[in-house]
């Protein structure tokens, strides 16, 4: 079987790549997708630990993370649509004033 470290290293790499994407990209939607990537990396770590310890609690946590990510994506994308309509731009560097 595959040692658990391999999964953890992969999870760390994906999380790091998510942070890099979050720092370097300027489109709001791409930032959101970087957050989803980070959540996925964390899910991978959860399932890897759940399998190595033999308990199923990690998988239940993964289900909850997926549910919360779904709710957050729905509301977040709604806010993004409104912001983009008001500012007429999807560049996150233009959303820097509290007033239009």
């Amino acid at each position: 079987m595959v040692p658990t470290n391999y999964y953890l290293i992969l999870s760390a790499i994906l999380f790091g790549l998510g942070i890099v994407a979050f720092v370097f990209k300027r489109n709001i939607i791409t930032l959101f997708m970087a957050i989803e990537l980070m959540l996925n990396a964390v899910n991978l770590a959860f399932v890897a630990f759940s399998q190595s310890l033999g308990k199923l609690d990690g998988e239940v946590f993964v289900l909850f993370v997926i549910i919360v990510a779904a709710a957050e994506a729905a509301v977040g994308l709604g806010i993004i649509i409104l912001t983009a309509r008001n500012r007429r731009s999807l560049n996150v560097e233009r959303v820097d004033l509290l007033k239009l």
Binding site: K25, N40, V47, E59, A70, A74, I80, A84
Partner: protein
């Protein structure tokens, strides 16, 4: 190289390639497709670990609903490509090598301490079956489960309120 490790390396390579192309592509829809590739690779990894229900839920909910929502928004807002700018010198020549160094340090620490700290992955299928997962979900975790249904209701109401036209 045994079978499972080979499959793991293939899926891990696909996942990392998807994550890197998320960063490198300039058009958000190509980034979204790369993220979908990452999610499918992760679903394959969950299957490799024996977590079949989680793999199916990941594909159905994450890959089939959340990412479709992202793609809808990108299409509706007609998001275009990002402009090219030069990143700051500090970020490219200082930050990226430092990030690689930190990642390498963590990976080395994990793999050195690995063999005695964590037991190797046990036999997957016997541990997680849908039946035992659902028993756990509805007995020990029933309170968070009901709370998440409430959370989804709040999210639906929020999305409807946000989507209303201003009268």
């Amino acid at each position: 190289m045994t079978g499972p490790i080979f499959i793991f390396l293939v899926l891990a390579a696909v996942a990392i390639a998807g994550a890197v192309s998320l960063i490198l592509y300039r058009h958000p829809i190509h980034s979204a497709l790369s993220l979908i590739v990452v999610m499918i690779a992760l679903a394959g990894l969950y299957l490799l670990m024996g977590a079949e229900f989680v793999a199916a839920v990941q594909l159905i909910v994450y890959g089939g609903a959340i990412m479709v929502l992202f793609i809808f928004v990108i299409m509706l807002l007609n998001a275009g490509e990002e402009e090219r700018t030069n990143f700051s010198t500090l970020a490219t020549y200082g930050g990226v090598p430092l990030a690689f160094a930190i990642a390498g340090l963590i990976a080395a620490a994990l793999s050195r301490a690995g063999t005695e700290a964590l037991p190797a992955a046990a036999q997957g299928g016997a541990v997680s079956s849908t039946r035992s997962l659902s028993m756990l979900l509805f007995s020990e975790f029933v309170y968070p489960f009901e709370l998440t249904s409430f959370l989804i209701l709040v999210a639906i109401l929020g999305a409807i309120v946000l989507a209303q036209r201003e009268n």
